[in-house]
Amino acid sequence: MTHLLFRRLISAVLICLAIILFCSLGLRLMRHAPNRSVLDLVADSVSDSASFLARLARGDLGAVYRAVGRRRIAVPVRALVADTYVKSLGLLLVSLIIASILGVGTGTLGAVLEGSPISLVLMSGTLLGISLPTFFTALVLQVIEITWYQRTGVRLVPVGGFGWDAHLVLPALVLAARPLAQVARITFLSLSEAADQDYVRTAHAKGLPSRQVWAEHIMPNAAVPILTSLGVSLRFSLASLPVVELFFSWPGLGSTLLTAIRSQQTNLVISLALALGLTFMLVNLLLELATRALDPRLRMAVDD
């Protein structure tokens, strides 16, 4: 176990260094410096990375300037990253909770009712769901909201902006749409596969109540793929995060990163990308640990 954690730590440090180098090199190349060769640019980006690391060690990542009214206000990068990170994470968590509850529920329902029209509709629905581009979902939800407002004069939820209240609804729904479908599909597939196994038939045959068969024999065996699919959908959500944040003007990590890339604020870009990458790795690690905890076979396989 500690061996594994140690290995992970080493690779995480290496990947972080790679992210820093990649971001600074990308930004250097974007500037279209006409007189510098690629080698010069690589050297520049290495020095950029070094200066970023030095700043990181000092704990001061510098500041970016934001226009507030007529004045330009210096915002410390550290505070900005922390602020946007919290906002994005909140949004992600809400959407993932929605996605996992609804997704697992839908998938289970589909698996239990396998072969019936409801199951068919549900599963076709999930195929539709994983094909939904976030911008399209966002547009449609927004059109519905606006049309509703125009018809009835009642504002259901705000169509943009930040707030830990009704503002969350639309972005969270949009972010949840694809993971929901994905989780539902995987749940359905792994449950119905597990339900086909011989030991399930044995369990039925020896007279266990259906509820017990599902809860004790089928569910635990399907849990690992479902958990993995949750991890995969978190990655989907993270990828779509900038789009959703941009659309709903949610001042989170993704949209800040986009503007930072466009305005080439090297330190901010690297910090945000690092935050994203670390989240990615952390989620992967947690998932791995969780699957081990769930599935004894995996524990056996890796520990030797």
């Binding site: 992210i19 250097r28 239990v112 009712l113 399209f136 039925h204 599902w214 941009l246």
Partner: protein, 819 residues
């Protein structure tokens, strides 16, 4: 169903499970009626396949036939600036309305057409990216799978981990911007392929490992096949079906990514930055593509939903189609087992050949070039020749400047301009741009003959074809006979003092214009020359006063002849001399005190020139403007410049039509304008078509335009296209001038299947009068004796070729932001 749910949640065991295995004993006669048990399952299973196939087929047909269905061609149509709808002044974006079924974008372009045209661009880009991902992913996945556990495997797997450390959208965005978005589709292929190959490689690796453990691999190894053979013959065919499925699913994934990238403003080509006003710039996505459409419209997502929702829906439907198809295929393969034999059957070869041919067609028809080319190809040389017949008709009496024939020709051109929708330069003045100038004209035919000392005629030169008459400086009329003296100079910057000792009394000086001092005619006159012969490439007569309405400052005193270089060379040849040989002593003499050389040629020249009194003449140029439709580019002006002048009628009744230089370009342009009007082509830049009067004068119509209009115009002239002799020639187009334009012409010619090259051409004063980047286009060897330069001799094949080429050149020049 509900009962099943209830049963499943009851505390008692659900015994219905066992029923499925229990054997019902059906009555024999019932058996025939009962439905086959698997049918419903089969329908359910193949539902995604059928739906996916349908959607993908529809997409494919839009890719093939979308341009036919579209109401307008975005590559050729213009922008709508503002409209008055129900009495309301409206600016784009326009909402959906009759004529604009899905509304317009912020530049007033039809969204439906852009969607239909964009399908091809988007899906082809998607196809390329998906293919690249599959190739890279499958190759590396197989390598990793083959060397399972080895260092290569570990290397590939950790590379995958590294490439997926950040979300693909961000990595892709940074990569694309870093590699340079303006480089177009190649950057997208590289960046998105690097971003997305990992998952495919992982999948293929696991499949590979799975197959590798099967017993038949062991068998293959036993019979002694090598590792490579096993991989290619036994494992690859087993992995192939899942590769097909992945490829289809990957199309959906790439489309999704392209859509999201488009939404955050990253799309193929990155649009064009256009300057608005003095400081602001605007980005115009000028290639119809779904992602670009959403990028351009994002800021309108709330208020002008129609601009965004249709491309977004297109993305959704396409992604859905590919996902359904992939899922359906997956189920099919899963149920039917892995079959690769059908991939090798004869029918499959046909299908693959068809798909390959269609793909090849589509890929070569992406982008604006095919639209331009197909419009350019519709140039009809027979209609152009019909215009030529009118302009060359005997009624016009050779269109001599200032004659009724010339004004008839101008009227004809102006009428056609009006018919084809060109606007006059100034609304009050009509298409005619008058110029009053003072001209003299030769009375009778000027003569230039060479005789030997005995008075025997050696050679006669022909006026117009071999030589012209010059009245600039002190040139004028008169008759003279004298010994020919070839003068050569060390440099053109000699002063009068340098010429000390040069005595020309009673003799006729002949020299090359390029090497002689400026105004050497005056010097020659002072030194007693009887006449002067200037050898020059441009031997057109100069019979115009330098300034319009000017006077002679000095009465003309001696005849000045401009002799064509080729005629002069010919004549020197017959004496066994050459101009280089004659100029050599002067070049050598540069160091010495005498910086010139004179050599008697041993021949006499007899010159006779009679000129009329100076007469004020009124000529008209015809100028029409085709306004650009682009809000920014229409401030840029492209001038297409030609000359209409003919040589007039001779005393013996022959008419000098000047068909090659005077008629062919105008006919080409008129036919092109007809075609543009008929096919609804709108240029983005403003184009001015100008038929200048006084093509060979020093102060032609073009100079008058420059002095009286251009300097007050808000339009900025960016290119001048001069059309020279386009009706006859050797079959190779020559282009001279601005390198950018020459390059564009050579590309246009290549696309039209015409051979063209960079070459040096003779520029008339009107062609270089307008400054700016200019190009002159002419067939090689386009000069013919003026008597035989008639409309009947124009070559329809060459007219068709140059028409197509120049049409394509002007379409590209007037549409593309960067040409």
């Amino acid at each position: 169903m509900l009962s099943r749910l209830r049963r499943a949640l009851r505390a008692e065991p659900d015994l219905t499970w066992l029923q499925s295995e229990s054997i019902e004993a059906p009555e024999p006669f019932e058996h025939a009626e009962s439905r086959p048990p698997g049918r419903r399952w089969r329908v359910e299973a193949s539902l995604p396949l059928i739906a996916g196939c349908l959607i993908v087929l529809v997409l494919f047909s839009i890719v093939l036939f979308g341009p036919v269905m579209a109401p307008e061609n975005p590559y050729l149509a213009g922008q709508r600036n503002s409209m008055i709808i129900d009495g309301q002044f409206t600016t784009p974006p326009f909402p959906p309305m009759p004529g604009l079924p899905l509304g317009s974008d912020e530049w007033g372009r039809d969204i439906l057409s852009m969607l239909l045209y964009g399908t091809r661009n988007t899906l082809v880009a998607c196809l390329f990216i998906a293919m690249a991902r599959i190739l890279l992913g499958a190759a590396l996945g197989m390598l990793a799978g083959w060397s399972e556990g080895g260092p290569l495997d570990r290397l590939i797997m950790s590379t995958i981990e590294w490439t997926t450390a950040l979300p693909g959208l961000l990595t892709g965005m940074i990569l694309i911007l870093a590699l340079g978005i303006e480089r177009g589709i190649a950057v997208f292929i590289v960046a998105l392929c690097l971003v997305g190959w990992g998952e495919i490689a992982q999948y293929i690796r696991s499949e590979f490992m799975l197959v590798r453990r099967k017993p038949f691999i062991e068998g293959a190894r036993v019979i002694g096949l090598s590792g490579l053979e096993i991989a290619v013959r036994h494992i690859l065919p087993n992995v192939l079906p899942s590769l097909v499925v992945i490829a289809v699913l990957e199309m959906g994934a790439v489309l999704m990514m392209l859509g999201e990238l488009g939404f955050i403003g990253i799309y193929v080509g990155g649009g064009t930055w256009v300057q608005v006003g003095d400081t602001a710039v605007a980005n115009i996505p000028d290639i119809p593509e779904w992602g670009a459409m959403m990028a351009g419209a994002r800021q309108y997502a709330r208020s002008k939903t129609w601009m965004v929702i249709y491309p977004a829906a297109a993305f959704f439907v396409a992604v859905l189609g590919f996902n359904l198809l992939g899922e359906g295929l997956r189920r099919l393969i899963q149920r039917r087992g892995i079959r690769t034999a059908f991939l090798l059957s004869k029918r499959m070869v046909l299908v693959i050949a068809f798909v390959a041919a269609a793909t090849a067609y589509i890929i070569t028809h992406v982008g604006p070039a095919p639209s331009y080319a197909s419009l350019a190809q519709r140039f009809d040389s027979s209609l152009a020749l019909a215009h030529a017949d009118v302009l060359g008709s005997p009624d016009l009496r050779g269109r001599e400047p200032g004659s009724p024939g010339a004004s008839l020709a101008a009227d004809y051109v102006a009428d056609r301009f009006a018919e084809y929708g060109l606007e006059p330069l100034a609304s009050s003045a009509g298409y005619a741009l008058p110029l009053t100038t003072t001209l003299v004209s030769p009375l009778g035919e000027p003569r230039l003959e060479l005789v030997d000392r005995n008075g025997d005629l050696l050679r006669t030169f022909t006026y117009r074809d071999d030589f012209g008459v010059d009245i600039s400086g002190h040139g004028g009329a008169g008759t003279a006979t004298g010994e020919l003296v070839w003068l050569s100079f060390c440099s053109p910057s000699l002063s009068a003092a340098d010429l000390r000792g040069l005595d020309l009394s009673g003799r006729i000086a002949i020299y090359e214009a390029a090497t002689a001092p400026v105004d050497f005619v005056v010097e020659a006159m002072l030194r007693g020359a009887a006449a002067v012969i200037v050898v020059d490439r441009d031997f057109a007569s100069r019979l115009q006063y330098a300034e319009p309405g000017g006077e002679y400052s000095v009465r003309p005193l001696l005849p000045v002849i401009r002799l064509g270089t080729s005629a002069a060379d010919d004549f020197l040849d017959s004496l066994g001399l050459s101009s280089q040989q004659l100029s050599a002593p002067a070049v050598l003499a540069c160091e010495g005190a005498r910086k010139w050389a004179a050599r008697e040629l041993g021949t006499l020249a007899r010159i006779s020139v009679q000129l009329s009194e100076p007469t004020p003449t009124r000529v008209t140029s015809v100028v029409g403007v085709l306004r650009g439709t682009d809000a920014q580019l229409n401030k840029e002006l492209v001038i297409v410049s030609m000359n209409c002048d003919g040589g007039g009628a001779l005393a013996d009744g022959r008419v000098l039509q000047a068909a090659n230089e005077g008629v062919a370009p105008i006919s080409t342009v008129l036919e092109m304008l007809r075609l543009w009007k008929a096919s609804g082509f709108h240029p983005r830049r403003t184009i001015m078509f100008a038929v200048w009067a006084g093509g060979q004068w020093q102060y032609p119509g073009a100079s008058a335009y420059r002095d009286e209009y251009a300097r007050y115009s808000t339009l900025e002239t960016v290119a001048v296209v001069n059309l020279g002799g386009l009706g006859r020639g050797s079959g190779e187009l020559l282009a001279d001038g601005d390198a950018n334009l020459v390059d564009l012409l050579i590309r246009s010619a290549e696309a039209s299947g015409v051979s063209a090259r960079d070459g040096e051409l003779l520029w008339h004063p009107y062609e270089s009068a307008l400054g700016s980047a200019a190009i002159k286009i002419e067939w090689e060897g386009a000069r013919f004796p003026s008597a035989s330069d008639v409309v009947g001799e124009l070559d329809p094949v060459l007219i068709a070729q140059e028409g197509q080429t120049i049409n394509l050149l002007l379409i590209t020049l007037s549409r593309e932001y960067d040409y």
